[in-house]
């Protein structure tokens, strides 16, 4: 499959089940809401080293938030529910509770409950106040700035982690420009996050290493400087490869996000230095979710245009 001169390789992304939740963080200004969101989702690129994967999902306008103030929604994913129950209150306590003017609310109502103020309320040292309306409880924790308002808990979903695709381009600048365009398009698809810096990974990894005890190491098959010395997946004209990793609340969400990203890259096309789109997998034996690039792109309007 070739779209606008870009070869969509016959490959697939292999993804894994993850457990995730969504928080709505509000503040007096959009800037402080975004600061809280970014701080809370900092150091959360890969579950291997960070314990979770998290990022800002979208900016939420004031009229959509529970308290009518500007906000952001964030998604946090972990490998299992026990881990999620640990990392969420930890990040909430260190990054939202401490951030000026913020409040935090449940972003998902269904699924197993993940504690929020249920844990953090003890910071109030007995002065905390709860209100339960219908079956929903929130807490007011007195702090030096005023009060920290936070829902008791939030719901969770069984999502998908590790969706991905690779952008193979002629140069580093062209690969990055294509990746930036993909991130911009993918950020519009709700229910997904791109947990790596700016949404882009420049150091895609493979499982295992020649060094004992190292779980992951550089994906040498896609390193341009090793072309000709290893079993390379590249062609001679590829000068740089960028990867985009996607975590989403469902298979369909990740598939839609993947398509949006590849479409954005294909619009840049060969004229912009993009050579091919590939994906990272482990042979299909490890992860139950397979995102086949050509199947995902089969329904794209770009394919019809190309025909």
């Amino acid at each position: 499959m070739i779209i606008n001169g870009v070869d969509i390789r016959d490959s697939f992304a292999e993804a894994f089940p993850m457990v995730g939740t969504r928080l709505i963080i509000t503040a007096d200004t959009p800037e402080w809401a975004l600061i809280a969101g970014r701080t809370t989702t900092g150091f959360a690129t890969s579950v291997i080293g960070c314990g979770c994967e998290a990022a800002v999902e979208r900016v939420v306008p004031a009229e959509e938030t529970p308290d009518g103030r500007p906000g952001v929604s964030i998604l946090i994913f972990a490998m299992d529910f026990g881990s999620l129950k640990k990392v969420v209150p930890l990040r909430l306590g260190q990054c939202v509770l401490t951030c000026p003017t913020t409040a935090c609310f449940a972003g998902i109502e269904t699924g197993k409950r993940v504690p929020l103020a249920k844990t953090i309320r003890y910071f109030g040292d007995g002065h905390q106040i709860s209100k339960k309306i219908d079956s929903k409880r929130f807490w007011r924790v007195p702090v030096m700035e005023g009060e920290f308002v936070c829902d008791e808990d939030t719901g969770s979903v069984e999502g998908v982690g590790g969706g991905n695709f690779l952008i193979l381009a002629r140069s580093r600048g062209e690969a990055l420009a294509a990746a930036e365009a993909a991130v911009a398009a993918m950020s519009q698809v709700e229910g997904n996050i791109l947990p790596f810096p700016g949404g882009v990974v420049r150091s895609g990894s493979k499982v295992g290493s020649k060094y004992k005890g190292l779980f992951a190491s550089t994906n040498h098959h896609y390193c341009p400087t090793l072309y000709g010395t290893v079993d390379s997946a590249l062609t001679p004209e590829v000068g740089s490869v960028m990867e985009i990793v996607i975590d989403g609340v469902s298979f369909d969400a990740v598939a839609a996000c993947t398509r949006a990203g590849i479409e954005a890259v294909c619009r840049i096309g060969a004229a912009g230095g993009v050579i091919a789109i590939d994906a990272g997998n482990y042979g299909g034996n490890l992860g139950p979710f397979h995102f086949k690039l050509r199947e995902i792109m089969a329904g794209s309007p770009l394919v019809t245009e190309a025909l």
Binding site: D67, R69, S130, K132, I133, F138, R140, G146, E147
Partner: protein, 265 residues
């Protein structure tokens, strides 16, 4: 049988008790069985048909026409369905109800919604004393649900209230929220003396600073995010709080170690 329609044959000469006469209970009876349902009346028990003309009605609804101030325990124990009273009711209406809706177009006697744990009561007229309170000898009053009083309420509204929401459009009598344990009360009109004596937790919303016992401390006026949240999340409070973002917060009853609050918005 579907729903039921009750119309009094004559004004009651003694107090009648409609405990357990709920849409769910009536759903298992035929119209004939419903007519023969024995209800306490004065010192004895009589068939429902001796007090009311009994007809079928919409599914899940018990409609009582005219009402009577001697008609007690209307909706007591209600767990689902709807009871509509086109008139007044006596004492203990909605006692211990856990779900469903009780609508009363007239006034209600004492202990309206006492110890209710869920559901909703809509009262168009005035409520007697002890609305949403604990019944005689009980330690805890209303613990959940919504009690909306569009008229005024008598003394000891929300006494020993444990949870839930009471909204009064009119005035509230003396002893409001006495020994309140938790929950929320909003009063749109004036409030009688001795509000919140022995209050442990809970919130009372008012529009003016009420007369308070010595155990209340004025913490000043504050920008409370919780106001914005409650205004949006709780429709009944949305109308009361409006666009207010600040409230004067008075905390008590500190003489009893309490941390209840009166929020003046």
């Amino acid at each position: 049988m579907a729903g039921l329609h009750l119309k009094p044959r004559a004004p009651l000469a003694a107090r009648a008790d409609l405990s357990g006469v709920t849409p769910a209970a009536l759903a298992t009876l035929s119209l004939r069985e419903a007519e023969q349902l024995a209800v306490p009346y004065g010192g004895g028990r009589v068939a429902l048909a001796e007090l009311f003309f009994v007809e079928g009605g919409p599914d899940g609804v018990l409609l009582i026409e005219i009402g009577d101030e001697r008609l007690d325990h209307v909706g007591a124990g209600l767990a689902s369905g709807e009871i509509i009273v086109d008139g007044v009711v006596g004492a203990w209406a909605g006692l211990g109800m856990s779900g469903g809706v009780l609508r009363i177009s007239g006034a209600a006697g004492a202990y309206l919604g006492a110890e209710m744990s869920g559901g909703r009561i809509e009262l168009n007229g005035a409520a007697g004393d002890h609305a949403g309170a604990a019944s005689s000898g009980s330690r805890r009053g209303m613990s959940g649900g919504v009690l909306a009083i569009h008229g005024s309420a008598g003394a000891l509204l929300g006494e020993r209230q444990r949870g839930g929401l009471i909204v009064v459009a009119g005035d509230a009598g003396e002893g409001l929220a006495t020994d309140m344990i938790a929950g929320t009360v909003a009063v749109g009109g004036s409030i009688g003396p001795r509000l919140g004596r022995g209050m442990k937790r809970g919130t009372v919303f008012t529009h003016a600073v009420p007369e308070l016992p010595a155990g209340f401390a004025d913490t000043g006026s504050h920008d409370l995010v919780a106001l914005r949240l409650m205004s949006r999340r709780v429709p009944e409070l949305g109308a009361f709080i409006g666009a207010a973002t600040h409230a004067r917060r008075l905390v008590g009853d500190t003489l009893m170690g309490g941390q209840g609050e009166v929020l003046v918005v």
